[in-house]
């Protein structure tokens, strides 16, 4: 048993596994998305090698810092693995005044993710973004409203470095934001009216493509919507701020009929009445969940601190130019 452990604890095996890990990183980078397959085998081998080394090498008993550093590395690998099994990343867009109800536009989650996102609720209350000359985006200041853990309503300004954190889910404002025409759909036959928004392509990056096709709820009717305005909203030559246009018109094409709408105008259809309620903004968010991040930070700091302590003790014990030849390593 000890012989097997000693072989597994070989420093040469450590080197081979480190080189394998490096190769895995290069492979994962080259074949995008193959990081897990490329990194798990060498990391497993390194973890086994390290545990065997801790059990058999006397250096770890002599140097506590070295021991803590290596145990920390094992803990980081384990935490990262747990993080990969339980994480969630995703993306969502919310119109001004809209409540987040737990649904994401797209998401990716680890197989052990518990899925508590449906319990997370908050409202997007609009944003402010200043622009410098040259359409250089400044800080995003997005006001959100939510219920805290005690059930009390809170408002908070988030953006860029400041996420909204609810039940461990972190909502970050993304660079994507734009205009959202709001419609009320009154179905023929007396169904309940439905309020909805159409998120036009992100502005100002898609300044000249402010159109989108969508489908009326409960029907097969396709609606093409274009926002038109003459105003220069974000002046490329001056400091300005993202804002709604003072005057605009909404062009709506249904079949071969074209309509130009102002807020309050409506289009009558056999299937119901489509009323244009007005123009709002929408904000894009990236969503991130990984309960391990704080633990990773603590363990990483302990690990690097232990390494620094180890080297400090080792180097302080003897000046570099007084080291005896047989003690060089």
């Amino acid at each position: 048993m000890m012989r097997v452990l000693r072989r597994l604890a070989s420093l040469k095996l450590t080197l081979a596994a480190l080189v394998w890990l490096g190769g895995g990183v290069v492979y994962g980078h080259w074949r995008e998305g193959h990081f897990t397959v490329a990194l798990v085998p060498p990391l497993l081998l390194l973890a086994l090698n390290l545990m065997a080394a801790v059990a058999t090498h006397s250096a770890f008993r002599r140097w506590n810092g070295l021991l803590i550093f290596h145990l920390g590395l094992i803990a980081i690998v384990l935490l990262a693995a747990l993080g990969r099994l339980t994480y969630l990343t995703g993306r969502v867009e919310l119109s001004q005044g809209e409540e987040f109800g737990g649904r994401l536009i797209e998401s990716d989650a680890g197989s052990w993710h518990a899925g508590d996102l449906h319990r997370v609720k908050f409202f997007n209350e609009g944003f402010r973004i200043a622009y410098s000359p040259g359409l250089q985006r400044g800080q995003t200041r997005n006001l959100v409203r939510f219920l805290d853990d005690s059930g009390k309503e809170q408002t908070k300004e988030i953006g860029d470095q400041t996420p909204l954190v609810l039940s461990g889910y972190r909502f970050y404002t993304s660079p994507n934001k734009g205009f959202a025409p709001a419609f009320i759909w009154h179905p023929a036959g007396g169904g309940a009216p439905m309020l909805g928004t159409v998120h036009l392509p992100s502005y100002p990056v898609n300044e000249y493509r402010q159109a989108r096709e969508w489908r009326l709820p409960g029907t097969a009717i396709q609606v093409w919507t274009l926002l038109q305005f003459d105003e220069v909203l974000i002046n490329p030559d001056a400091t300005s701020e993202f804002k709604l246009p003072d005057r605009h018109k909404l062009v709506v094409r249904i079949g071969d009929r074209r309509h130009e709408l102002q807020p309050g105008d409506a289009v009558e259809l056999p299937e119901g009445r489509l009323e244009y309620d007005g123009l709002r903004t929408w904000m894009g968010y990236t969503v991130f969940y990984d309960w391990t991040i704080h633990w990773l930070l603590v363990v990483s700091m302990l690990t690097v601190g232990a390494l620094g302590w180890h080297y400090w003790r080792k180097f302080a014990a003897r000046p570099w130019n007084e080291t005896r030849l047989h003690e060089m390593t």
Partner: protein, 269 residues
């Protein structure tokens, strides 16, 4: 602009310091006080130039290629000047280090000193911490490079003659190993600080973007070189080659990847 003129004056001081150091090694002279004085003068001028630009633009030197090269010349020069001052035994290694710095200075001179925009994701203290740790790492590797260059140069009759008064190869290798160990600690800190910044700025702490990938590969190479020294009791010559490998990897990470890839590290979002 006055800040540019001051920068050129600083570079001139560095070039004089480096040239004197190289000639001194060739002629076996020791004008070390002059070299140190010129390095210090260059650093003071360079600091003033960076401070003036910082004050004018309202952000530190980490947006454009010009700023990044300038701040790295400053930090590399500061690291080596400190080593030159505190470890007199390795002063002739300036003949190895200064040509490397001349190369980066030449690149700096050919770069457009125009202004860049500070992206909103750069408004964080973690940027300063991340960059600060990175500079200490690169400075430590630069000093190790100088020492390793001496070890390798001494393999030739010409180099052996010019660098004969330095400590023996074993002791130089030990000092180089210590620099690499310090570099390893600070590169680890740089990666941790970078992960904290990335989490806040882009909502993920690690995404294997090209810069993160290369920084991790460099970290692995440093780890491998430190481990290899323990495992195989490497000769100073082989250890020196490993240090050069680490320096090349770090150089590509610091100065290559950010400018050939379209990653968030460029501040594109």
């Amino acid at each position: 602009m006055i800040e540019l003129k001051i920068l050129w004056a600083a570079l001139l001081a560095y070039v004089f310091a480096g040239s004197i150091a190289i000639v001194a090694v060739l002629l076996k002279k020791r004008p070390e006080r002059t070299v140190l004085a010129l390095m210090t003068a260059g650093l003071l001028l360079h600091t003033a130039s960076i401070a003036m630009r910082w004050e004018r633009l309202g952000h530190g030197p980490f947006i454009t290629l010009f700023e990044i090269l300038s701040s790295n010349v400053w930090s590399m020069m500061l690291a080596f000047a400190l080593a030159y001052w505190r470890i007199p035994a390795i002063r002739p290694s300036a003949a190895v280090v200064m040509p490397v710095l001349f190369t980066v200075m030449g690149w700096l001179l050919m770069t457009n000193p125009g202004e860049g925009h500070l992206p909103p994701t750069y408004h964080t203290i973690w940027l300063y911490i991340h960059i600060g740790f990175g500079k200490v790492f690169f400075g430590a590797v630069l000093i190790a490079l100088g020492i390793s260059g001496v070890i390798l140069a001494r393999r030739t009759a010409f180099g052996a003659g010019r660098f004969e008064r330095l400590p023996d190869d074993r002791r130089l290798a030990e000092l180089s190993f210590r620099c690499m160990a310090i570099g390893f600690v600070f590169e680890t800190l740089m990666l941790i600080a970078g992960a904290i910044w990335a989490q806040d700025a882009w909502g993920r702490y690690w995404a294997w973007d090209p810069l993160e990938t290369w920084a991790f590969i460099t970290w692995l190479i440093v780890g491998i070189s430190l481990h290899a020294r323990l495992t195989f009791n490497l000769s100073p010559r082989l250890g020196a080659w490993l240090v050069i490998g680490v320096f090349v990897s770090a150089f590509l990470t610091f100065f290559g990847v950010p400018f050939i890839s379209n990653t968030p590290h460029q501040g594109a979002v």
